[in-house]
């Protein structure tokens, strides 16, 4: 098989700063308080993803999922270790794409598509399909700042999903969509998975991970603590109650993203 994503000892550390102005820093230093603190958001993570695999990345809030995804996407660079990917990457990072709130949906769509690597021709050809998928014909020419969070996430997802990518990243974007949209998305993501592309999916929803993924990675405090079969990973996290619990039947029916 062909490697699609290769992560080797990737570490990313963030610096927490408690004070910002010179005065605050001086006062804190004089009192012997800490002014900065380093911590590893992603800590020595290694794994290899083969082309066509669909990976579910799970973990509690603040466990480093988004940071890892940002590094795979290329928004961030690991401080040490390496991350290599093959082919074009598309996807959404942390609910809602990078939209400019003052620009119209149309302009943001074109700009976003270009950032993801689409050419002018490609964008023109896919424009109607994207708008149709996002279901925002009415708001197309109004500012994205006036969109609801669901609408902007839908637009972002629609653009990303129409890029001919080799690796598709999705980060809890579906959490804000309504039910018909989520159904549309899951169909589309299954299409992506079945077309032999690599899928990298971050979610808290045990049901959707079980349905979508062939392998689960679990992060805890930035470290990779589990790598294996989805049901085992879900059990490892203690999320398996969700699937069996009758309260969450909607989940077990295969709904995606009901996990805010």
């Amino acid at each position: 098989m062909v490697d699609s994503i290769r992560v080797e000892h990737a570490t990313k550390s963030f610096t927490r700063r408690y004070q910002r102005t010179l005065k605050q820093i001086t006062v804190a230093k004089a009192r012997g308080h800490k002014t900065i603190e380093e911590f590893n958001a992603v800590d020595d993570v290694s794994f290899t993803v083969e082309q066509g695999e669909s990976i579910g990345l799970m973990g509690l809030n603040g466990s480093g999922k988004s940071t890892l995804l940002k590094m795979i996407n290329g928004v961030m660079r690991p401080d040490s270790g390496s991350i290599l990917t093959r082919g074009r990457i598309a996807g959404l990072i942390a609910t809602g794409a990078g939209f400019h709130p003052q620009l119209s949906g149309r302009d943001n769509l074109i700009l976003n598509a270009a950032i993801l690597g689409m050419t002018e021709k490609e964008t023109k050809r896919k424009f109607d399909a994207i708008v149709d998928f996002a279901g925002i014909e009415q708001q197309l020419d109004s500012q994205v700042g006036h969109y609801s969070s669901g609408q902007s996430a839908r637009l972002g997802f629609a653009i990303a999903i129409h890029v001919d990518s080799d690796i598709f990243l999705a980060d809890e974007v579906l959490a804000v969509g309504d039910k018909p949209f989520r159904a549309k998305c899951i169909t589309r993501m299954e299409e992506i998975r079945d077309s032999g592309r690599t899928l990298f999916y971050v979610s808290h929803s045990a049901g959707s991970v079980k349905r979508m993924c062939t392998r689960v990675l679990v992060l805890r405090d930035g470290q990779l603590v589990f790598d294996g079969k989805p049901w085992k990973g879900i059990k490892f996290l203690g999320y398996d109650d969700d699937v069996e619990n009758p309260m969450d039947r909607e989940e077990s029916e295969g709904e995606i993203g009901a996990d805010i």
Binding site: R77, I83, T85, Q102, L116
Partner: protein
């Protein structure tokens, strides 16, 4: 629904096995990557042109009102009250040719400094060469230079100016200096501004200094007369050289041979200009270097 796999992409390099090579996804950065993605750059410039004065009634007009108001102030305060009309021939052209350059530079540096912070929504979430934003800012400012130069040409022509080859070369070099230098400083300050927003305020002070550090409200002749040996160092300021080159291109040609006060230009001006392009390229290289160094921490510090 469209066919997802309908678009075979052109221009993707493959290895022996027909596979695209593995690369670090964060590696496609730098000014070279910016030049490779011209379609994206064009979109960003177009967006910036329409967004710079968004929400204002006069919109794009502000790009002309700003330099025009400066022109009027300098013209009346310096020309009329300080009576520089008497010593500097065609003082209006003298000021205006300087304002075009100074405004181009301060706009590039000022808006460029804020460009990364202002686009934080995109910078935090999308992978792209972040040098795009300062470069797009420079090109946006350049776009506004066009009409100003046309006004300058028309005004100069009214004074009997005719284009000459030396002057046109001077104009091109002058613009090139500001483009390169402005981009370099915009890169430097835009990255620094993410870490300390103080940079934005400091840049305002620099902009102010520049207005008085170039022969705009005074003439080069006065520098030569009153600064003595300091005159040499004055020409080490690339922006002053760019202004002089621009004045050589327009203002000098407007002064008739029979005028009492003849315009004074430094010797070897074009040579200075070429040297300053070299200096600007060094600044650009430093800007790119610092930007690459700081870039890694930009998304988390925004």
């Amino acid at each position: 629904m469209t066919d997802l796999a309908a678009d075979p992409r052109e221009g993707v390099k493959t290895d022996e096995a027909g596979l695209v090579p593995m690369v670090a996804p964060s590696d496609a950065t730098g000014l070279k990557a910016v030049l490779q993605r011209r379609y994206l750059l064009r979109l960003l410039v177009r967006r910036e042109i329409s967004a710079r004065y968004q929400g204002s009634i006069l919109g794009l007009m502000w790009s002309y009102i700003n330099p025009l108001s400066q022109f009027c102030i300098y013209f009346f305060v310096m020309g009329v009250i300080f009576n520089l009309h008497a010593s500097i021939p065609n003082f209006a052209i003298h000021i205006f040719s300087a304002i075009v350059i100074v405004h181009f530079f301060t706009e590039t540096m000022g808006a460029g400094t804020r460009s990364i912070v202002r686009n934080r929504q995109i910078v935090q979430k999308m992978a792209m060469p972040r040098e795009m934003f300062p470069v797009a800012t420079m090109l946006t400012s350049l776009y506004h230079v066009g009409p100003q130069v046309i006004i300058l040409v028309v005004a100069s022509a009214c004074y009997g100016w005719l284009p000459d080859a030396y002057g046109m070369a001077a104009m091109v070099i002058g613009i090139a200096i500001i483009m390169i230098l402005g981009t370099g400083l915009a890169l430097l300050f835009s990255a620094a501004n993410v870490f300390f927003r103080d940079v934005g305020s400091a840049v305002n002070i620099i902009s102010n200094l520049i207005r008085f550090g170039v022969p705009m409200i005074y003439s080069y002749e006065m520098v030569a007369q009153r600064f003595g040996s300091f005159e040499r160092y004055y020409l080490w300021n690339p922006i002053a050289d760019a202004v002089l080159l621009f004045q050589r291109a327009f203002w000098v040609g407007t002064v008739g041979a029979d005028e009492k006060n003849q315009p004074v230009m430094p010797d070897h001006l074009l040579l200075y200009g070429v040297a300053m392009i070299g200096v600007s390229l060094v600044v650009l290289a430093i800007g790119q270097l610092v930007f690459s160094r700081l870039e890694n921490k930009i998304p988390e510090r925004l």
